[in-house]
Amino acid sequence: MKHIVIIGNGIAGVTAARHLRKLGDDKITIISAETKYFFSRTALMYIYMGHMTLQDTQPYENWFWEKNRIDLIQDKVESVDYSEKKLLLASKTEVSYDSLILATGAKPNMFGWKGQDLDGAQGLYSYQNLQYIEERSHLIKRAVIVGGGLIGIELAEMFLSRNIKVTFLVREKSFWNKILPNEESAMINRHIFEHHIDLRLGAELEEIIGDDSGKVKAIKIKDGEVLDCEFVGLTAGVSPNIDFLKDSDLNLGRGIKIDQTFKTNMPDVYAIGDCAEFEVPLEGRLPIEQVWYTGKMHGETVAHVIQGEEKTYKPGTWFNSAKFLDIEYQTYGMVLGQLFDGQETFYWEAPNGKISVRINFSKETMAVEGFNFMGLRARHEVCVPWIENKITLKEVIENFGAANFDPEFYKKYEAVIVQQYNEEYPNDRVELKTKKGLFSNYIQKFKRFSLTERSS
């Protein structure tokens, strides 16, 4: 019986542990300094806003771990001895391992801003970060958030829930514009203003100014403006949490270097989740993947690898989702701020400016390559096969109802989308063939089936 030790009880580490238990009878230990029990990091904002308690964000009841014989240690790992295969913890106890999974997650980026270490300047990644913000909240009249990404807008929403004024510094000309195309990005700009957030586009942090006691009292923007504030949220992305692994023979880049089976250069040492960096990234994907479901897939795959199976990491077509205040966002296939070469785009936006659909497609073959949905839910099980089977834009528009995953009674936009398509492509007119609903989904499955039949 091997002893498999996992450092980090985030989604990647916990998924690895669960699958290892399903696959075998080894001794499994998870070590985390953050919290004893696994909770959903993505729900930190909801704890602060009072939607859920920490306990509500824990997907498993406390008895789960003992029942599944997964030992939990709440401690900090100080160092790893790869030759002796043992860990030294902050409590000075030693834990030896046969296999080690590093799932240490990430930490907020600090770009060497002046004053970034002042009391009241903080990122948001861990439960400790949240506690830090919670303890100070009653003192905050204005918070400044630096970095226009997903965590930044969550932090802004959190402060709004406490009636704290928010100034939001975004370096790009428009919110999250590297990822969101102009129209979607502009939609979110408008929505941020609608929530009375003082959004500053194209604004960069110059320095954070402290008072005599070392607390944040103001910030200075690059154009010289000084804004009084009691808190600065530093949310310009995250980077792998690997400081304690430095100065060893473990191969590190920005993250822990791994091959396609999550093996590091050290024997029986693996790395997964936010801290891992693929030596050779999969085609069309980033070397460091820091989203929830990739963490899950890393964990699942590494469990099979450790059990000696030849399982490779197959994340499939890229997808992601987020929520910007009240506007939900879903994306399938790689859609970025700029089109890829040879791509064209079809974009429809509802008159209220809060709902939109974008379909990117190949100019040459008309095959769809990516979707962006704002304020409209789409069916994963339909959108991804449409991309993978290279279905044409025309066919997608005709059958758009099959992709609609909005709740019952919601206003349906299929007809106006068809209408807009017909206006843009008058020579290639279509009619709506598939309406919303589960039946449509089955029809689509059947169609894909017959399509594969035809092609094979």
Binding site: A322, E328, F405, L438
Partner: protein, 457 residues
């Protein structure tokens, strides 16, 4: 190629004006509501009977005005969306002192109403003007309660509509809940009395309204000369034996539990602030299955027994078994379970304690839903982030997240289809759907299974 410069960074900066603080106005609104409750409390000590109209209108008026003003200030002034801020920190919604005061108050109200209803005499007299107007006679015990109930569903229903106005499902469903309570459970029964017809709450039937299945009920309706009485027999039997299986096959138990039923209606309106307090523990689910099915078996067996006794005696007329069972069931189930515990403990145990642990109607509907229905909650591929909002706001205590994160559809007997899991989900993962039964129950074991949609899966 999209033009990056097309987005003008200066767009509409004027709209970024300061957020208005309405906390003072909100406090005034709450104060008006509290004054309304105070007037209502004073009324019961005598003045209500003396000045019925004054006390009736001022108390109900102040409560309605105060709570609607508070609703407007809290939910309507910001853009529509999920508005669950401070629920886990408020003294009312998170088991704080206000929750306990309310639970004790509500429970006390039920206990007095059941056992010492004469103490509420002055309230009944206060209600007389309204009662004469709609029913044509003076207020009896439960008429006062019925008005309170309907009033609560109406006011808190409007609150639910405003709060959840980003969801058309919730808007339409809540309208139906209000309609059902106001017309089917209040106005129609009142008018039946007014026109000297047999009183009937037409949104209840056997087994929830257990007496509707007992011989005595048929006997008394058959004695009535009116067409209406015959129609009521037809209506009640039709809902039990035809409506229930057919509608549940197509839509799941929600057609009744969260659209028509008055108990469910109260839970989804008056109880909405407390829906998150239902227990999500696995042990609760085990207890739930034992209890609810035991109640159902008890009802079915006792109903069968009474009919057996009636058949052997050769008459539908009252027999000791009918009398005894009606009494004991009415006391244990009707009063203690669905009233005192079910509603009185809203702030502590959550809103659907009765529906989840005791309602025989829910048991039958749930059985059909689980095994013979086209209804399911679909989960959307791999988009779940396990945040837990769906489980937290499930009033039936279903751990929705445990299904969603595995990509497994939710097909559970207890789900009343309120749709709140889909409403609060931040990633569009959940959807209530009726569709072909094939593939309704799916059990993916890993994320790879979920997101690699191979045909040969």
């Amino acid at each position: 190629m999209p033009d990056l410069n097309k987005v003008d960074p200066s767009i509409d900066l004027t709209s970024a004006h300061e957020h208005q603080d309405f906390s003072v106005l909100s406090k005034v609104a709450v104060a008006i509501m509290v004054i309304g409750f105070l007037i209502l409390s004073i009324a019961v000590f005598g003045p209500g009977a003396k000045y019925p109209k004054l006390f009736l209108f001022s108390s109900f008026g102040a409560i309605a005005f105060g709570s609607l003003a508070y609703t407007f200030l809290t939910y309507f002034l910001s853009p529509s969306g999920v508005k669950n801020n401070h629920i886990t920190t408020s003294a009312l919604t998170a088991h704080g002192w206000l929750a306990w005061i309310m639970a004790v108050g509500l429970t006390g109200f039920y206990v007095i109403h059941y056992w010492w209803s004469h103490l509420f005499e002055n309230w009944y007299r206060m209600m007389d003007p309204l009662s004469f107007y709609v029913r044509g006679k003076q207020t009896e015990d439960w008429i006062f309660y019925g008005v309170l109930y309907t009033f609560g569903v109406l006011i808190m229903g409007i609150r639910a509509i405003v709060k959840y106005r980003h969801s058309r499902y919730q808007i339409i469903r809540t309208c139906m809940v209000i309609f059902s309570q106001f017309f089917l459970a209040w106005l129609i029964p009142s008018l039946l009395v007014y026109f000297k017809e047999p009183e009937a709450y037409v949104n209840y039937f056997w087994p929830l309204s257990f007496k509707d299945g007992f011989p005595l009920h048929f006997q008394s309706l058959l004695q009535e000369p009116s067409i209406m009485a015959k129609f009521l027999i037809f209506w009640s039997l039709g809902l039990t034996f035809i409506g229930t299986p057919i509608l549940t096959y197509y839509f799941g138990k929600r057609w009744y539990c969260s659209w028509v039923c008055g108990c469910g209606g109260l839970a989804n309106t008056v109880g909405d602030p407390f829906r998150q307090n239902s227990s999500k523990k696995l042990i609760s689910w085990k207890i739930e299955r034992w209890m609810i099915n035991s109640v159902l078996i008890f009802i079915v067996v006792s109903t069968g027994y009474i009919w057996y006794v009636a058949a052997t005696a050769g008459t539908l007329k009252i027999n000791p078994a009918d009398h005894y069972l009606t009494k004991s069931y009415g006391f244990l189930i009707g009063m203690v379970f669905s009233g005192v515990v079910g509603t009185g403990f809203y702030p502590i145990l959550g809103t659907r304690v009765w529906c989840r642990f005791g309602c025989p109607q829910a048991a039958i509907l749930g059985f059909i839903q689980r095994f013979f229905s086209r209804f399911r909650i679909t989960t959307n591929g791999g988009q779940c982030i396990s945040c837990g909002n769906c489980s937290k706001y499930c009033e039936m205590g279903i751990d929705v997240r445990s299904y969603a994160e595995r990509g497994a559809n939710i097909v559970r007997a207890s789900c009343v289809g309120c749709g709140m899991c889909a409403t609060v989900c931040p990633r569009g993962v959940l959807n209530l759907e009726n569709g072909p039964r094939e593939g309704r129950i799916n059990k993916p074991v890993s994320l790879s299974d979920i997101i690699n949609f191979e045909e040969d899966k």
